[in-house]
């Protein structure tokens, strides 16, 4: 006959502890894997804008980023940006240059597309519309959330690439052409995939869509 062993209080406590530990480990695995958790996804339809015609909605893996464009500050740059947005040119284009908590850059329409990504050339591509002149005369303040057109080392080489800064960058003033500012969703951009030892991203995140609100 097998003798029944009585479970001690200590063993019960140990069992509960193991179960709690297992639940905690399992749930944190899920939480850690989902980088978008706890982020608010902004619905532009629920927000009132003073100039809705200048609102662009950038949809990225963690949700919507609402951007107000400033045609009064940089007429030609905003015109180019809107042209590319309206032709859906930015859809499925990579965030190829990302510096953690500093900047995200996307918009290489030639070498940054999801279906034809070229790691060797990304960041050097063109839109096909040619370059435009820099617009640097305004006293625009490059505070966090500012959106600007990227350029090569020289001025007047702006095309389709744009960057959004995640921290204030006063040195950008008078150097880069501003096009607008993020109104909502800057924290969503902080979740864009970034590398630790380089500015260029292997297997980058992509823009889902970029549309004008109206």
């Amino acid at each position: 006959m097998i003798k029944k062993i009585k479970v001690t209080t200590l063993e019960r406590i140990l069992l509960i502890f193991v179960i709690i530990l297992a639940i905690f480990t399992f749930s944190s695995l899920i939480i850690l894997k989902n980088k978008c958790m706890f982020l608010e996804n902004y619905n532009p339809d629920k927000i009132k804008f003073s100039k809705p015609e200048n609102i662009a909605v950038l949809n990225v893996p963690c949700g919507n980023v609402i951007i107000e464009l400033y045609p009064d500050v940089s007429k030609n740059a905003v015109e180019r940006f809107k042209l590319l947005i309206n032709s859906k040119a930015y859809d499925e284009v990579a965030f190829h240059r990302v510096i953690k908590d500093k900047l995200v850059q996307a918009g290489d329409l030639e070498f940054g597309r999801k279906n034809s990504l070229d790691y060797g050339k990304i960041g050097t591509g063109a839109s096909g519309y040619g370059t435009i002149n820099s617009e640097l005369d305004s006293n625009f303040k490059f505070t966090k959330g500012s959106v600007g057109l990227a350029r090569t080392f020289k001025n007047n080489t702006e095309d389709s690439q744009f960057f959004i800064i995640l921290q204030d960058e006063p040195l950008f003033e008078g150097e880069y052409t501003p096009v607008g500012k993020v109104l909502y969703g800057l924290e969503i951009l902080k979740k864009i995939k970034h590398p630790d030892y380089s500015e260029y991203v292997l297997r980058p995140d992509f823009i889902n869509t970029l549309r004008m609100y109206e």
């Binding site: 790691y119 040195l171 008078g174």
Partner: protein
């Protein structure tokens, strides 16, 4: 082709992260912001560590202690503040780098202007007897880089005595003394005799720094008088509102 792509990719992924905005703008490492809220929108950086520049890494400069920086910044700011934002824009100058023991190919220099990078590197420990004047000297090089068509060296050379010849370059001569000649004979300093552009920079620096010496010297020196006229006339072509006085 595949190998090249892999190499490029590895280069991007392995190369160290140079995320600081200053490096991205002017390609000088080891700098920090010293002052950026200035009247004429010049932005001042200071070295945090020694740095090397140039294709052959032949330009070197070191960091300074805070006390030296503070005292020299005041002098530099006072002098550079005399140039308006509009004028600085025309001559492509936006960034001032403050460091000490600046040298190019191991030859000490007061400053290194770089019009393309909109940057002027200044040695804040340069000989204090000529320190303030040398700031304006370097500014002239920035002016000349942007408007070399206006400051025609052949016209300038023709102002000298016929027998006089400048050296081939500013570093291939031992005429480097910056003290003011008692008897000028067309040149303010010995260094003026090195090259035409250095001569112009010297005249400009006196015009900006010591108007009294200029007025005193040109009374009896017709060559110098012509040089002063040439410079003033051409600077005003760039900016009609330019002021040579304090």
């Amino acid at each position: 082709m595949f190998l090249i792509k892999i190499t490029l990719l590895l280069f991007f992924l392995i190369s160290p992260l140079k995320a600081d905005a200053i490096y991205n703008l002017i390609k000088i490492p080891n700098l920090k912001i010293y002052e950026i809220k200035t009247k004429n929108k010049l932005k001042y950086f200071s070295a945090t560590k020694p740095f090397r520049l140039g294709v052959k890494k032949n330009i070197t400069c070191s960091n300074s202690n805070e006390e030296t920086l503070k005292s020299k910044y005041k002098i530099i700011y006072k002098n550079l503040n005399r140039y308006s934002h509009e004028f600085l824009k025309k001559i492509n100058l936006k960034y001032i780098v403050l460091c000490e023991d600046l040298s190019i190919s191991e030859i000490n220099t007061a400053g290194i202007p770089d019009s393309e990078m909109k940057t002027l590197i200044l040695d804040i420990k340069f000989n204090k007897n000529y320190f303030e004047r040398s700031i304006h000297h370097e500014i002239f090089h920035m002016i000349n880089d942007s408007f070399s068509n206006i400051f025609d060296e052949e016209v300038w050379k023709s102002l000298n005595k016929k027998k006089f010849k400048y050296a081939e370059c500013s570093t291939c001569t031992d005429k480097i003394n910056l003290s003011t000649y008692n008897k000028t004979e067309g040149f303010f300093t010995e260094y003026s005799k090195s090259t035409a552009s250095e001569d112009m920079a010297e005249v400009f620096s006196y015009l900006m720094f010591d108007k009294n010496i200029v007025e005193e010297k040109i009374i009896n020196d017709i060559i110098l008088k012509k040089k002063v006229f040439f410079l003033k006339e051409n600077i005003l072509k760039i900016d009609s509102k330019f002021k040579f006085d304090d």
